[in-house]
C-alpha cells in the first residue's frame, strides 16, 4: 500500500470501529478488504490494532493475524486457540487442550490449536465456553477438551507469536493513550476548590507519569514493526503491558468517583487492557523469561544500535 492507500484504508477502519464491535466489526473489516490488506502489508495490521485500541472495541482480527503468521488462509470459518491467559507456548499439552480464544471460536467450524506442532480439529470436537470474567464486553472464549485426532498443520508458532505480540502490543499502547486522554480531559474540566484539578501538581505528575508510560510503549511498538524479530516483538508486548498497568492506575486515580462508575467508559478500557496484557503471554512473564536467559548467560540482550 502506498501512503494514500494506507490513509484511505485507515480512515475506513476508523469508521468501522466507531460504529461496530465484535462480530459486526469483523464483518465490517471484511467488507473493507482487511484480510487481503493484512497479508499484503504489515502497516495495515499496525493501523487496525491502533484504531481498535483507540476505541477500546473488540474484534477477532487477532485470529487473522495469527493465521497469516502461521501461513494459513485467514478465513472467518477458522479460529485460533491461543495459549491460556498468561502463557505463550501452547494451547495443548499431550492430548489435553486448554486455551483462550476470541469470540470467533464460537462460530468457526475449524479450530487451529497453537503449539508445536500446530493442531487442527473440527470446532465441535472441543468445549467452547463463553467467558464472562472481568471483560465480558470483549466476548472471549475458553477452549478445552481432549484431542482425539492427530491432524497437524504446517506453520511455525514462534513466527506467528511474534506477529501476534506486535499486534496486541499496538492495541495495548493505544488503549493506554485513550485512558490517558480520558483522564487528561477530566483533569482539565473538573473543578474542585475553585480550580481545575489539572492545576494541582499531584494530579499533573500522575498524568505526566502516565504519558511517560504511554510514550515508552509507543517507542517499543514502533521498533517492533520497524525491526521485526521475536525479541523486539516480545519487548513491545512486555513494555506495552507494563505501560497499560501504569496508565490505568494513574488514570483511575485522576478520574476518581466518575471513573469508578459503570457508565464512564474508562473501566471497559482498563479491563480489556488487563486481559490483553495476559493474552499470548503476560508482559511480566515474558520479560522475566528473557531476563532469566540474560542472568544465565551473564550478558544483557542487544539494545537497539544507531
Amino acid at each position: 500500500m502506498d501512503r494514500d492507500e494506507l490513509e484511505l484504508f485507515t480512515n475506513s477502519l476508523r469508521g468501522a470501529a466507531d460504529r461496530h464491535a465484535g462480530a459486526a466489526l469483523d464483518a465490517a473489516y471484511d467488507d473493507l478488504g482487511w484480510r487481503d490488506a493484512l497479508q499484503d502489508d504489515q502497516q495495515a495490521i499496525a493501523a487496525l490494532f491502533a484504531i481498535q485500541g483507540g476505541r477500546g472495541v473488540a474484534s477477532s482480527a487477532i485470529d487473522d493475524v495469527l493465521l497469516s503468521g502461521l501461513g494459513l488462509e485467514p478465513v472467518p470459518e477458522r479460529a485460533v486457540v491461543m495459549p491460556p491467559l498468561g502463557r505463550h507456548d501452547a494451547a495443548y499439552a499431550g492430548r489435553t487442550v486448554d486455551g483462550f480464544a476470541t469470540h470467533r471460536a464460537s462460530t468457526a467450524t475449524e479450530l487451529v490449536i497453537v503449539g508445536e506442532p500446530i493442531r487442527v480439529v473440527p470446532a465441535p470436537a472441543l468445549d467452547r465456553r463463553q467467558v464472562s470474567g472481568i471483560d465480558p464486553a470483549s466476548g472471549w472464549v475458553a477452549v478445552s477438551g481432549h484431542l482425539d485426532g492427530d491432524e497437524t498443520i504446517s506453520g511455525v508458532w514462534p513466527d506467528a507469536l511474534a506477529l501476534g505480540h506486535r499486534a496486541v502490543a499496538t492495541e495495548l499502547a493505544a488503549l493506554g493513550r485513550t485512558m490517558l486522554g480520558l483522564a487528561r480531559d477530566h483533569a482539565a474540566d473538573r473543578v474542585q476548590f475553585g480550580r481545575a484539578i489539572g492545576s494541582f501538581q499531584a494530579v499533573r505528575h500522575k498524568l505526566a507519569d502516565a504519558l511517560l508510560a504511554t510514550e515508552a510503549a509507543d517507542a517499543a511498538v514502533s521498533v517492533g514493526w520497524a525491526e521485526p524479530s521475536g525479541f523486539t516483538a516480545l519487548m513491545a508486548k512486555a513494555i506495552a503491558g507494563r505501560s497499560g498497568r501504569t496508565v490505568a492506575r494513574h488514570a483511575q486515580q485522576v478520574l476518581a468517583g466518575m471513573g469508578f462508575t459503570a457508565e464512564h467508559g474508562f473501566h471497559l478500557l482498563m479491563k480489556r487492557s488487563m486481559v490483553l496484557d495476559q493474552v499470548l503471554g503476560s508482559g511480566a512473564a515474558l520479560s522475566s523469561e528473557l531476563a532469566q536467559r540474560s542472568i544465565t548467560e551473564r550478558v544483557a540482550p542487544p539494545m537497539l544500535a544507531l
Binding site: A208, A220, E289, A291, A300, M303
Partner: protein
C-alpha cells in the same frame, strides 16, 4: 560520510587502538580528566570527533547521528565515562547557535580536540530548579565591557575548565527570565575563585564558583542581551538528547557488567526484566530523538520524556546492582567494589541534574499535556 561507513571505520579503529584508549587503572578524577583529553585528541586527529559538527566550527559536516554513534561506541566500550565526555554535546551546540561566529570557530575545535574543558554555570545557591530567579549580576561598565559579580554552585568540572557558559542577570529581578544574559567567560579571568565540592560518591565533580567584579568583553555575549533564557532553554534539550544516548549506551554495558559480576542466585528475573524493559524503552525513545535531531527538527519539551526515562532506568539498574552486590558495594574496599559503590551513588543524581524529575514532570504537564498553569 554516511552512518554505515562511519560505523565500519570507527569500529575497526576502536579495535585497533583499544590499548591507547583504555582508561587508567585509577580512581583519581584528575587521571580520568586527563585521559578524556587523550581520547578526544586521538579521535579528533583520526577525524571521528569532527564528523557531525558543521565545517564553520572545524567539523567535517555530516549527520549528527555520527556524534551519537561515536559517543555510544566510546561509552559502551568503557573507554570514557559519559558524564564528562558528553559535556561537549551540551555546550557546543549552544556555541554554534548563539556565539559570534568568529568565537565559535576559534573555541569549538579546542573543546572537540580535548585541549579545553568547559563548564556550565547555571545553578546558584538560592537558584536551583527556579533558574529564572538567578542573581549573579552582570553590569555594563563605562568601557563597554561587562562586570560580573555573584556566585554559582554545583558547577561540574569548573576546577578543570578554561571557559564557562555563564548565565547572569542583566535586567532587574522583577524581569525574571527576561532579564537574563549568557556569556562565554574565561575561567582564568581575575576575580574568579573556584572551590571544588566533594560529592557523596567521593569525587570532586562540581564546584562553587565565585565572581568578584570579573571583566567579560562584550563580544563574549551568547545571543543578545536579555536572551539568556532562550539560550538556556535551547541548551537543555541537547542535554537530553545525544548526551543521554551516550549514557544509555554506557548503562547497557553496565547491565552486562552486573550480570557478569552478580553472585549466583543474587538476581531476580522479575527485577532484571524490569530493568531490561526500562533501558530498552529508553533506548527506543532516545534513538528516535537522535533521528529527529538528525532530520533537523528542533528539539524541545518532549526531550523531558527522554530525561525522565533515563533517570528511572538508571536508578532501577543500580537499585538491582546495590541489592545483588550488597556485600561488595557496601563493604568491599577493592577497586571493583569501589567502582560499583561510586556508580551506585552517582546514579542517585540522575533525577536531579539537568533539571530534576519533578521539574521535568512540570514541563510534561504544561507543555505536552497542555494542562495550563499550575496553582
Amino acid at each position: 560520510m554516511d552512518l554505515d561507513a562511519f560505523r565500519g571505520e570507527l569500529d575497526s579503529w576502536l579495535d585497533d587502538h583499544d590499548a591507547e584508549l583504555r582508561p587508567p587503572d585509577s580512581h583519581r578524577f584528575d587521571d580520568h580528566m586527563a585521559h578524556l583529553s587523550t581520547v578526544k585528541r586521538l579521535t579528533y586527529d583520526a577525524s571521528f570527533m569532527r564528523w557531525g559538527w558543521p565545517e564553520s566550527v572545524g567539523g567535517l559536516g555530516g549527520s549528527t547521528l555520527l556524534r551519537g554513534y561515536l559517543g555510544g561506541g566510546l561509552t559502551a566500550r568503557g573507554l570514557v565515562e559519559p558524564g564528562i565526555y558528553s559535556m561537549t554535546e551540551v555546550l557546543v551546540p549552544t556555541m554554534i547557535d548563539y556565539a559570534p561566529p568568529g568565537l565559535a570557530a576559534e573555541m569549538v575545535p579546542r573543546q572537540l580536540r580535548g585541549d579545553e574543558t568547559w563548564c556550565q554555570g547555571f545553578s546558584e545557591p538560592s537558584t536551583g530548579s527556579n533558574l529564572g530567579a538567578l542573581a549573579c549580576r552582570a553590569t555594563r561598565s563605562s568601557g563597554g565591557e561587562w562586570r560580573v559579580t555573584g556566585q554559582k554552585v554545583w558547577t561540574s568540572l569548573a576546577q578543570f575548565a578554561q571557559r564557562c557558559v555563564l548565565l547572569t542577570r542583566t535586567g532587574s529581578p522583577e524581569d525574571a527570565h527576561r532579564g537574563i544574559t549568557a556569556f562565554f567567560v574565561d575561567m582564568d579571568s581575575p576575580g574568579i575563585t573556584v572551590r571544588p565540592i566533594r560529592t557523596m560518591h567521593g569525587v570532586d565533580e562540581f564546584c562553587e564558583v565565585f565572581f568578584d567584579d570579573v571583566a567579560v568583553p562584550h563580544d563574549r555575549m551568547l545571543g543578545a542581551e536579555g536572551q539568556g533564557w532562550a539560550v538556556a532553554m535551547d541548551l537543555l534539550p541537547f542535554e537530553r538528547s545525544t548526551a543521554l544516548w551516550h549514557r544509555g549506551a554506557y548503562l547497557h554495558r553496565k547491565l552486562s557488567d552486573l550480570l557478569a559480576a552478580a553472585p549466583e542466585g543474587s538476581l531476580s528475573a522479575a527485577d532484571v526484566g524490569a530493568v531490561i524493559e526500562q533501558l530498552y524503552a529508553f533506548r527506543a525513545r532516545s534513538r528516535a530523538t537522535q533521528y529527529r535531531m538528525a532530520a533537523g527538527e528542533k528539539l524541545g519539551a518532549e526531550t523531558s520524556i527522554d530525561k525522565l526515562m533515563l533517570g528511572m532506568a538508571e536508578q532501577a539498574l543500580y537499585d538491582v546492582a546495590a541489592a545483588a552486590l550488597a556485600p561488595a558495594l557496601l563493604a568491599g574496599d577493592d577497586p571493583e567494589s569501589e567502582g560499583w559503590r561510586s556508580e551506585y551513588l552517582y546514579s542517585r543524581a540522575a533525577t536531579i541534574y539537568g533539571g530534576s524529575s519533578e521539574i521535568q514532570r512540570n514541563i510534561v504537564a504544561r507543555r505536552l499535556l497542555d494542562l495550563g498553569p499550575e496553582v
